[in-house]
Point group: C2
Chain length 516, copies 2
Amino acid sequence: MSEAAVKAGRRGRGGGGAARRAERTAVSIETAKYISRNIPNYEVLDDAALDLIEINAETILAEIGVNFVDNPEALERWKAAGAEIDGERVRIPRGLARKLCSTAPATYTQHARNPERSVVVGGKNLVLAPVYGPPFVRDAEGGRRYATMADFEKFVKLGYMSKWLHHSGGTVCEPTDVAVNKRHLDMLLTHMIYSDKPFMGSVTEPSRAQDSIEMCEILFGKDFVRDNTVMTSLININSPLTFDSIMMGALEVFAKNNQASIISPFIVGGAMAPVTIAGTLTQVYAEVLAGIAYAQIIRPGAPVVFGTFVTSIDMNSGAPTFGTPEASHITYGAGQLARRLGVPYRSAGSFCGSKLPDAQAAYETANSLQMGLLSGVNFMLHACGWLEGGLVASFEKFVMDADQLGTLHQFAKGVDLSENGQAMDAIEEVGPGGHYLGCAHTQANFKSAFWRSDVFDYKPFETWDEEGARDTQMLATARVARMLDTYQQPPLDPEIEARLRAYVADKKASMPDSFT
Amino acid sequence: MSEAAVKAGRRGRGGGGAARRAERTAVSIETAKYISRNIPNYEVLDDAALDLIEINAETILAEIGVNFVDNPEALERWKAAGAEIDGERVRIPRGLARKLCSTAPATYTQHARNPERSVVVGGKNLVLAPVYGPPFVRDAEGGRRYATMADFEKFVKLGYMSKWLHHSGGTVCEPTDVAVNKRHLDMLLTHMIYSDKPFMGSVTEPSRAQDSIEMCEILFGKDFVRDNTVMTSLININSPLTFDSIMMGALEVFAKNNQASIISPFIVGGAMAPVTIAGTLTQVYAEVLAGIAYAQIIRPGAPVVFGTFVTSIDMNSGAPTFGTPEASHITYGAGQLARRLGVPYRSAGSFCGSKLPDAQAAYETANSLQMGLLSGVNFMLHACGWLEGGLVASFEKFVMDADQLGTLHQFAKGVDLSENGQAMDAIEEVGPGGHYLGCAHTQANFKSAFWRSDVFDYKPFETWDEEGARDTQMLATARVARMLDTYQQPPLDPEIEARLRAYVADKKASMPDSFT
């Protein structure tokens, strides 16, 4: 247990009436441990291909360079590190970026306030976090509408109750009813109070990154935050090859404070990167090398993640497309590059372009989730709830996807080759023409043998028909309602909660609303 | 071009008014070439695991044995080949089955009457065939109902028009309005007349297998059928470890005539095989070894396919479950065993348990299709149209799945590492902060760069909403109607068609209807 968590727990147990009530009524919410793969990764590129991409990426950095926009201090830092500066253009001599990246840790622990929920990002692990960023929400009853703070709170509660989700995420939807300059405070407070899973910090302004740190200091204790990583935040690169001052400012705050940043090119193929797989991989690698190198210039050893967000494009309509083979290839390839660089890898998710949680959504999402597992992703943002190209967070799809994440856990266990796994006694016992349902081996193993959905319908046709012939969306609507009805808040020291609420109230009172 | 096809084509062109009309009105139906993988397979087992499974499988064959039921000739053949016979039990000494299997070809060509549609089964190839066996059909308008010959004909037409489908399949649904002892004749006739893609023979009685051969002799010419493989048929094993006389009788007919047989254990895990992955793989391997060895006893060199049909089971309801991680593991592992044995591999498909073509159906199906591609499957039966655990052939799901098969084609192409693929000129041209939509490289490549669905919705939200906010099923309903409306029969020599029709009429007149 972390020091802060021990403290929080002790305070909770020793605290006043509210704490005791919280403890008494809290149900034990089962959360699976983050996935630790006992399976190989799928490697689509051979070493020669990886060499080629690396050489080309370093050619980009050395000859074309990257832009650090509106950020003279970054240019100074790059100059001091050995790069060649030309206006806002930074050209990085061959080998320098990789050398700078070498101080980045291969794995790091992100602590949760409940230490049982802490996650280790990197290596063979896979940590699953929900959708991030949609301005709209959708459910079957209310249709598509702008997201509010009430929606945000519901998603955090659903995430807390989702067994296969290890992480509470960040902007699970954009609460558009709160001022832009204040909503990060409400979002962080909600993650901290309504869940005990790890979460993400704010990146929309460097000052909001700083607020995130300060709220974590209240939640975990100042000493604990100084010595430990308690946030993983999403730093997007403006592809192609551009690092803006807002995102870099947030990165600077997080890296200085030893908090983790996902350095993530955001690419719609054919628009922000070439239409070819190898070309996109090359640009992605160049961008991530530059971004991680910069984080290491800020603070050698700061935890970082090699991010890749990539979609293809429908050249008829210009719409981004999801679950496509090109995105899969890039995700597999980028995983190999991340392992080559020796840092954790973020990619994949419940991606789909569909407007509804229908078959299109599920085909696209399943394609993305499966390749996410096999490509060696260590941190999967958007693992559930994504709809309509990320414009919409869907309540039904959130629980449908979150259920599917169970298949990743089960597959990652690999193949049990023990004597029990080999089952030779059972095969002998049953023999030709027999059946296994009643045999001793089946009785001993059936409970954990097969993954089972908690959402899908497995009933006989007649029963299903009598019960209303419900499709997956209707089953999911019922599940969302049931989960929210039975949600119970995880215990938190009332004093800490009060201090967090006061911090947020003070901050919000200190500035006028801004919606830009 | 095959001799028969040349002949058929020549006759078609030179024939009477019907042939000329057929030619004049025929539209060119585009069918993709069968997939030839330029990607690695995913291998979940290491060599030690494969060794262990092989040793155990041979232990099963040598010590437990398999039953050949009601088939004294098979027992005689096994005895002559060196097996130990005990009643109907055949015990196969260690090494014997694998030695017998060594005459099976690694690849074979299945000829279609249109030689452009012939397929090579095995190696790095993947041939896609539609759903097989459902007694029911479903569409949005008519709901779930018993399948008829009219439905069967529609599915054959849809299969013919589906670009990513290489094979017309066999019993795409069970035409329950035709007597059991006669429906194979109508089904074969339909495949032969309404499609020019390769197809499967009948296996429900040895005599029906013989009818299949005789109809092929009319379609392709007797000499051609003697020298070439023109059917791939599905021989199920009664797992565990039982080979019944009907399926073996059909196998004997096909093997004798050098026609291909898929030797396929049919396994609901926990019922027909142990609940563990390794145990199931061991039993599957033992069963396939015995079945392929038997085919090679009948005729050394007869083309065979290592089949694996496997589902997990929901231990609450007893229902088979699909798209699950356990089935994926078994499919990956069996692919490795098939390659070890050096024969083509059949597995995977558009498997799902859902009653509707909804999100459940699509998650389960996408999981199955993706792992089918990566597991090295060479012949994928059920690649589209499967619903409700195989009880139902769905018109909408047929076209939804058939569209998704395009993603397998595109992914299998692998990563283009040519200069054009590397796109370094484009990256230099666009530079930091630019965009790729207008650059020369994008213009030159965009048409083929990204896979695009012909079913899914990629429109802006507002357009989609105005057009009725249709879900995938509704889009698919429209596509089914459009395809059937524009279907045109591929040309066939009228004389051949007349002889086929006469053969079927005579056969049907020669026996009373039987519905058992």
